[in-house]
């Protein structure tokens, strides 16, 4: 018989013996009815967010890379442990290999009151194409923006023409027409906040999201 006291004491003894005290676990065999949740760094930039695993019996907060908890029916999530990288790969290697790449955004700028790209942005178009071609089944969204010079209705049209111009450039470079959508946000979503009627080159842009 294991009393509640010895159940609590055993991990402490194990912890005293182990060099990396209680933080590093040896992965346990999969047990029917048991869930495992692991926090992972984001694939594209390595940042680690947060997750809370909870049920009626308790909650465990995951804050660090490979922080993990196990949950069985009718029990609180176990205290945080760190799952070794090898175990992450063993359990999730296949799933991670099938995770689509994170979306990428490219911003192209335009000459004043014009649908012509700035020379620097014309050069950036090649990078965008490269990113699209590397992706499985790419979706591309092209959103046009203007600065606050002129009335909003005309700016909506100008932003749309900018987006369509970029779409045409992408199609001319070989992208599939069905994969490239356009939208206009007019002057409503400036990158740099300005008063009305302000000539601001940074706001005259098209944002291309590749996913």
């Amino acid at each position: 018989m294991t009393t509640p006291r010895t159940r609590r004491t055993l991990p402490v003894i194990a912890c005293l013996i182990a060099s990396a005290c209680a933080r590093v676990s040896v992965d346990q065999p999969e047990r029917p009815g048991q869930d495992l949740a692991v926090l992972l760094p984001d694939s594209h930039d390595g940042t680690v967010g947060r997750a809370t695993v909870s049920n009626a019996y308790g909650a465990t907060e995951l804050r660090d890379a490979r922080a993990a908890t196990r949950v069985s029916p009718g029990q609180a999530p176990t205290p945080v442990e760190t799952l070794p990288e090898a175990d992450v790969q063993r359990r999730f290697g296949d799933a991670l290999a099938a995770l689509p790449p994170a979306p990428q955004a490219f911003t192209l700028h335009f000459l004043f009151n014009s649908e012509d790209l700035t020379p620097a942005s014309s050069a950036l178009l090649a990078d965008t194409l490269q990113a699209v071609k590397q992706r499985p089944v790419p979706d591309v969204l092209v959103v046009g923006h203007t600065d606050t010079t002129g009335p909003p209705s005309l700016n909506f049209q100008l932003a749309l023409r900018r987006a369509q111009t970029v779409r045409e450039l992408l199609l001319a470079a070989g992208l599939d027409a069905g994969a490239v959508d356009v939208a206009s946000h007019g002057e409503a979503q400036p990158l740099v906040l300005t008063p009305d009627e302000t000539n601001e080159p940074r706001n005259r842009r098209v944002v291309i999201t590749v996913r």
Partner: protein, 157 residues
């Protein structure tokens, strides 16, 4: 009557376009809007929709309440309209139980049910706009996220 014509044309056109977009899915699902697409599929990988099992080919459009399933050699990766990404290893199942992404109306929600096997969730705009609108459910717990990647392994009883 004349004034109604543009809206009738628009309706017919949109039905036609929707039908074209979902030409490969069973009848009955045609009026629903796509919430994302299959991006990566290898081995035995399926979408279960209203009781029918469709092969998960890259490019296939996904609908709310679709289930993602893989067999013993399957892998499946999808991306949703808000940039949320989900992938499954072999012998796994995840249901897209609820999905709303209309940020202009303030309507965002994502509920995923992790039923069995190994899966990875990488957060998108919904988690950024409204973290509480995202719920990852397993048989024994609910996972709430704050902009992140989470891997879940579920061994059914």
């Amino acid at each position: 009557m004349t004034s109604d014509r543009p809206s009738i044309i628009a309706t017919v056109l949109s039905v036609a376009l929707t039908a074209a977009a979902f030409a490969t899915v069973p009848l009955g699902a045609q009026s629903a809007a796509a919430i994302g697409r299959v991006k990566i599929a290898t081995g035995a990988a399926f979408i279960v929709r209203a009781g029918a099992t469709l092969p998960a080919t890259p490019g296939l459009r996904l609908l709310e309440t679709d289930s993602l399933e893989t067999g013993s050699d399957g892998r499946l990766g999808i991306s949703l309209n808000d940039d949320t990404r989900i992938s499954l290893g072999p012998d796994s199942e995840v249901a897209l139980s609820r999905y709303r992404y209309a940020p202009a109306d303030g309507a965002v929600a994502l509920v995923l049910n992790f039923i069995r096997g190994a899966a990875v969730y990488a957060s998108g705009q919904i988690a950024k706009l409204s973290p509480d609108a995202v719920r990852l459910e397993t048989p024994s717990a609910i996972v709430g996220v704050r902009g992140t990647t989470v891997a879940l392994h579920v061994v059914p009883e």
